[in-house]
């Protein structure tokens, strides 16, 4: 490995890498992200390796997440530039034979969205991708995350060379300040200000930390960046260290991310070999290295001060907020902590300048944001969009609308501590301040879409319970307040709600939000407060009418069989575990006797509804079901 010490040397080496890459006339990029691997990408990779059999003309890449998880496993063939979706190992010979050898497009593997009958071959045409603007995820489908040469072929570590060799730390810092880069971890704190604060804090050592303790349920942005493009994070951190005067670096990765850990650790090794980490980086005189620390599985350790304690080997608990972490963080020394996505943005800003960065997104929230779009949308996956895009665009254009054509009900942004927004908020532009004002937050980028079949009270209960589980228990409001909120929510969903509960919930939520010690506590009531704000009628339906509009809360629903649809096939009777379904004597149908559910016995397990071929089993509020029961059965008897 050459020792790189000048801009020219780095550029020359980048050229060399590019030439090496260009030697391959054909590229097969298999999405090897977590989601695709879960549905067969590993077997697919084995099949490709076997079929290609060391073929010199094809570069086979096991890449990071491409984003479109809904239709994985994904395979991109270049230069055809065609995206194959839901690929199975049995499709591999055909891909090799036709697409690689003959350059044909295999029609049956192309993406066909439900409903409109269109067929999409190229990535940029697919609506899911078309609305996105990828910056930090741009290289995910193009490079092998285990190859530093791939990264360098696309200009990787160029920003580092530029920063260390052509810019003073002050200039780098100014660039970040001018870019108005805001922390992607949740708070949206101005990164430039943070860096400045850390740089000017008194102390001999300065720690540069990457927070990869991504604990939000349904969020996998940071994981995908670490898995797909780990070098961009390293590059960002080293640039940060240059600007701030960092002496050592850490990455705090949750232990549940073994793949990200492996990719990142490998990247660290390579970066050290190439001299981008270690002593006298690029002959700039700066010594800097990054250590990997694995989290122990506590959500609260994503909070900065708790993360420091955990990193020190202590119990991860937030501390009193009068101490600023830029001055006294890890081991009470100046520390700059940013999350994965923030660091990954840094090389781009250095490369293309603050002005370019601010041309993306909005005035107050420039740049792009990665979201994990999950829930009841047609297209789930990992997306990167410019700030300021509306929720509607994200959910209905990129996300392709609600699954199975159902109606939209709510979207939860910002993970468990975010809030639920309703139909009326869909035109809101996605940026830090607007979402916070609406009672939710940007968070680290989780976006969970809910359809009409979701009960917001149930969802609020779920998130509150999650946060109780993860609360460290240090401060009273979070520890006790959340628990009582959860108890009230449990009562409401069990049909025991009382009108005064609404007031109690609001008061409790306010108290927890205002008085809690750390960000986890102050944002914890968001799901409840925002859902009360936008879906108060649902709460009232639960409390006053004993009805669950989403038909989710078991205590507030009843199952009954529509006598007009039922064919009497008896499938439901066979699956019922509690034998609540019986035939009704004298009620002949096409295939047998009409069945009826005994409401007193029914356990509401939903098994019958799932198997009914005629969709004759209906879920209603108990009162309606009882009425049906009387009308159709009891009286006839």
């Amino acid at each position: 490995m050459p020792k790189l010490g000048t801009i020219e040397q780095v550029k020359r080496f980048q050229e060399k890498c590019k030439t090496a890459l260009d030697k391959f006339p054909l590229v097969v990029s298999l999405c090897h992200g977590t989601a695709c691997c879960a549905i067969g990408a590993k077997e697919l990779a084995a099949a490709f390796e076997e079929a290609l059999n060391g073929e010199k003309s094809v570069k086979f890449i096991k890449s990071g997440c491409h984003g479109f998880c809904e239709v994985g496993p994904l395979v991109v063939v270049r230069p055809l530039d065609v995206v194959y979706q839901r690929v199975k190992p049995s499709d591999v010979p055909e891909i090799v034979e036709r697409s690689l050898k003959k350059g044909e497009v295999i029609d049956r593997l192309l993406y066909r969205p439900r409903g409109n009958g269109k067929v999409y071959a190229k990535e940029e045409e697919i609506p899911f991708y078309a609305k996105q603007s990828k910056v930090v995820l741009a290289l995910n489908s193009r490079i092998d995350p285990y190859s530093i040469d791939d990264y360098m072929a696309y200009g990787g570590y160029g920003a580092l060379a530029k920063a260390l060799l052509e810019m003073t730390p002050d200039e780098v810092l100014q660039e970040i300040v001018d870019a108005r880069l805001r922390g992607r971890g949740g708070g949206g704190f101005d990164a430039g200000r943070k860096w400045k604060g850390c740089r000017s804090a008194p102390g001999e050592r300065r720690h540069i930390i990457c927070n990869a303790d991504e604990g939000d349920p349904g969020a996998f942005m940071d994981e995908s960046i670490l898995e797909g493009n780990p070098h961009s994070v390293i590059e960002g951190m080293v640039i940060g260290a240059w600007a701030i005067g960092g002496t050592d670096g850490f990455i705090y990765v949750r232990n549940e991310y073994p793949r990200a850990l492996r990719a990142f650790s490998n990247a660290l090794k390579q970066a050290r070999e190439y001299g981008f980490l270690g002593e006298n980086i690029l002959s700039s005189g700066m010594d800097f290295d990054i250590k990997v620390s694995r989290g122990g599985g506590a959500f609260v350790c994503g909070e900065s001060s708790a993360l420091f304690r955990s990193l020190e080997g202590d119990v991860g608990e937030p501390r009193a907020k009068y101490i600023h972490s830029v001055e006294r963080g890890y081991h009470d020394e100046p520390t700059n902590l940013n999350n994965v996505e923030t660091w990954a943005n840094v090389p781009h800003i250095i490369n293309r300048g603050a002005k370019w960065f601010r041309s993306l997104g909005t005035e107050d929230s420039p740049g792009t944001k990665v979201f994990s779009l999950v829930g009841k949308v047609e297209n789930t996956g990992l997306i990167e969009v410019p700030m300021g895009i509306t929720l509607k665009e994200v959910i209905f254009e990129i996300g392709g609308g609600i699954k199975e054509g159902r109606d939209f009900k709510a979207v939860q942004t910002g993970g468990p501590s975010g809030g639920m927004l309703s139909q009326s908020q869909l035109d809101l532009p996605v940026d830090f301040d607007v979402l916070t004002e609406a009672g939710s937050m940007m968070g680290s980028g989780g976006m969970i879409v809910m359809d009409e079949g979701t009960c917001v009270v149930d969802v609020a209960k779920y998130f509150t319970d999650f946060l109780i589980e993860e609360s460290c228990g240090k401060c009273l409001p979070c520890r006790e307040g959340l628990m009582h909120m959860s108890r009230i929510l449990h009562r409401i969903t069990e049909g025991q709600g009382e009108p005064k509960d609404m007031e109690s919930l609001k008061r409790l939520g306010d108290a927890v939000a205002v008085a809690s010690l750390c960000g986890l506590g102050t944002s914890a009531p968001n799901p409840v407060l925002s859902s009360i704000k936008y879906f108060e009628d649902e709460y009232l339906a639960h409390i006053n009418e004993r009805r669950c509009p989403g038909r989710v809360c078991r205590a507030l629903i009843s199952y009954h069989i529509d006598p007009d649809t039922c064919t009497g096939c008896g499938t439901c009777e066979k699956v019922c575990p509690v034998e609540a379904i019986q035939p009704v004597a004298g009620e002949e149908r096409e295939e047998g006797l009409l069945r009826i559910i005994d409401l007193a016995v029914c356990d509401k397990c939903d098994a019958c509804r799932e198997v009914c071929p005629e969709e004759a089993i209906l879920v209603e509020s108990p009162a309606i079901a009882l009425e049906h029961y009387r009308e159709n059965v009891t009286e006839k008897r």
Binding site: A320, K321, E470, G473, K474, C475, E480, H484, A511
Partner: protein, 597 residues
């Protein structure tokens, strides 16, 4: 230097304009202004923690208000603080309601909640065991004591305080600081063996390291017990020096030696009690409820660890007590002599127990009762009337299980069994009792031997100091001007000690009063021309009367101390020492005269 660098910030609290140093918290400023802000997790000697949030106040800065914890929020220039606004009160009420749902049985919480008119809670009550998770104990143990013997376990609503890994904390120094700061009295200090003690006396309850040595000590100034002081043990703490306004705490102070010139000395160095652990059969140190007579005194004293309550180790009241006489006395295995005082103090103990636990069964196991003295026999008779059981026969063994086949085991397994031979009944007996008090005998003080050596006086075979004559000179020693008094001379009770002390004092006074000392007529004298300064005489002189003049290099005899024993004369290898009027020619002349007659 700090003062010149100090920056003052201006702020208002509840409308009062004030100035504060940078870095001060709202709570500190409020305290100065006598504005009361309630706290539950704050303690001035540990770092702000911000867990209870009860101290939340409203801060307005540049027109924006928010709630901050007063205990940890550092004041800034231009802030407006509201400690009792409607919103603040409402918030505190809500937090107190949450507290009440858990800790309504905890006095401090109930009291504080009541102050805010919160007597009930709208929330489901889930009573705690009394810990409000304020973390004071954990923080004091780590920040002040430096022991780190306590920690939080689990998280969220499952959180509780325990020792690391929930085991016996090796690092605990049993200082009791955690129990002291605990606002709810949830933490209690128990006597658990095998750990480092800061309190060496813990077996009879902790005392503070800073204390007035004993009631009515002169001077009545507190001292720091260096073995118990956390600062002297671990280097942490130092709280006393922080709170002492006159700055009177001095950790560096050492014992000093004072030299005084005196003409006569009275040695009244006392005694020590027999260590019953040497007599294993009595179970002292093995069984919690076997204590010595002196420990009973400590226990039953009004200023003792239980405030005078007579209780067993588990805190319950003993219903039967055996008092075993002659422990370490009149016993060939230990001390052959009678300690003289035990019979009477054993009677006193029985009397005190009768007073404290009127229905207790009290047994006195004696060899024979020795009650000579004014009113002593009458006191013995009174005890007989008080229903104390006197068993003539020495207690021989204390065990947790009956050893005699005839003994019916008691229902409770916490009983102790005392075996003895009742010589009046002529049969062995075994008494099931709750508690055993060992009437330990008296022994020479620990350092008696060394004292005797320093003062060149003799000790008897039993180790007590020897008087010049047992009948005719009971306070004098063979060294003139040195007198002995009290138990240093032999076991005796208080009246005897007082009498002997008075006699010794009178003897010393008579010496001082005379102003001169009558010398022995035939003291030794050194012929300086012959003396080689070999120091042989220094070693043999039993009275310490010979010193060496380093300048001249010869022996010098102090006539006042010389008792004319002649040892030095006989020992001098060069024949330089002779006795006045008693040299060889004089003796020979005496002999000649004698023989001639």
């Amino acid at each position: 230097m700090e003062e010149t660098n100090e920056k003052l910030v201006k702020l208002t609290i509840d409308g009062i304009e004030t100035e504060a140093r940078k870095g001060e918290t709202i709570l500190q400023v409020a305290e100065r202004l006598h504005i009361d802000i309630p706290t539950l997790c704050h303690y001035r000697f540990v770092k702000p923690y911000g867990a209870c949030r009860i101290c939340s106040v409203e801060v307005t800065i540049r027109g924006k208000s928010r709630f901050v914890p007063a205990c940890s929020y550092q004041v800034r220039d231009g802030i407006e603080v509201q400690t009792r606004s409607e919103e603040v009160i409402q918030h505190r009420k809500m937090l107190l309601e949450l507290m009440m749902a858990r800790h309504s049985q905890v006095e401090v919480v109930r009291k504080l909640a009541h102050e805010y008119g919160v007597d009930t809670t709208r929330f489901e009550e889930m009573p705690s065991e009394g810990c409000i998770l304020c973390g004071l104990c954990v923080r004091v143990c780590s920040e002040v004591v430096g022991a780190n013997a306590l920690t939080f376990v689990k998280r969220g609503t499952d959180r509780y305080v325990s020792t690391p890994f929930e085991g016996k904390a090796d690092t605990c120094i049993a200082c009791g600081a955690c129990a002291y700061v605990c606002p709810t009295n949830y933490i209690k200090v128990e006597d658990i063996r095998d750990r480092k003690y800061v309190f060496s006396e813990l077996s009879l309850g902790p005392t503070t390291p800073i204390h007035i040595p004993f009631a009515a000590a002169i001077p009545g100034i507190p001292v720091i017990d260096s073995h118990a002081c956390i600062h002297m043990q671990t280097g942490e703490c130092g709280i006393c020096s922080k709170v002492c306004e006159p700055d009177a705490i001095n950790y560096e102070m050492q014992d000093t030696f004072e030299e005084v010139d005196v003409g006569s000395i009275i040695l009244a160095t006392g005694y020590k009690t027999f260590d019953p652990a040497r007599a294993e059969q009595y179970g002292y140190g093995r069984f919690d409820n076997v204590i010595t007579s002196l420990e009973f005194e400590h226990l039953s004293h009004a200023s003792g660890p239980t405030g005078g309550a007579f209780v067993k180790a588990d805190g319950s009241e003993p219903k039967s007590v055996a008092i075993l006489h002659c422990i370490g006395s009149r016993d060939k295995n230990y001390n052959e002599y009678c300690s003289r005082v035990c019979c009477m103090y054993s009677l006193k103990i029985a009397h005190l127990i009768r007073e404290k636990v009127p229905d207790a069964d009290i047994y006195e196991l004696y060899i024979d009762m020795r009650c000579p003295g004014s009113g002593y026999e009458e006191f013995y008779n009174r005890l007989l009337e008080e229903g104390v059981h006197f068993i003539r026969g020495k207690g021989v063994e204390v065990s947790q299980m009956p050893t005699l086949a005839t003994t019916t085991p008691a229902a409770s397994n916490s009983k102790l069994y005392v075996k003895c031979e009742d010589t009046l009944l002529g049969m062995p007996r075994e008494l099931p009792v709750d508690m055993v008090i060992l009437s330990v005998g008296l022994e020479p003080a620990e350092d008696a031997e060394e004292v005797a050596r320093i003062f060149k006086i003799n000790a008897k075979g039993d180790g007590f100091f020897m008087e010049r004559h047992p009948k005719l000179a009971p306070v004098d020693t063979l060294s003139d001007g040195i007198f002995i008094a009290g138990c240093a001379q032999g076991p005796k009770d208080i009246p005897d000690s007082v009498a002997q002390g008075a006699a010794a004092a009178a003897a010393a006074v008579s010496l001082i009063d005379a102003g001169e000392v009558a010398l022995e007529p035939i003291t030794s004298v050194v012929d300086e021309d012959v003396c080689t300064g070999c120091k042989t005489c220094l070693v043999v002189c039993p009275y310490g009367a010979i010193t060496r003049d380093e300048e001249k290099g010869v022996a010098v005899i102090n006539d006042a101390l010389c008792k004319a024993c002649g040892c030095c004369v006989a020992a001098c290898p060069s024949g330089a020492i002779s006795q006045r009027g008693f040299d060889d020619t004089q003796i020979e002349a005496e002999l000649a005269a004698l023989l001639m007659s």
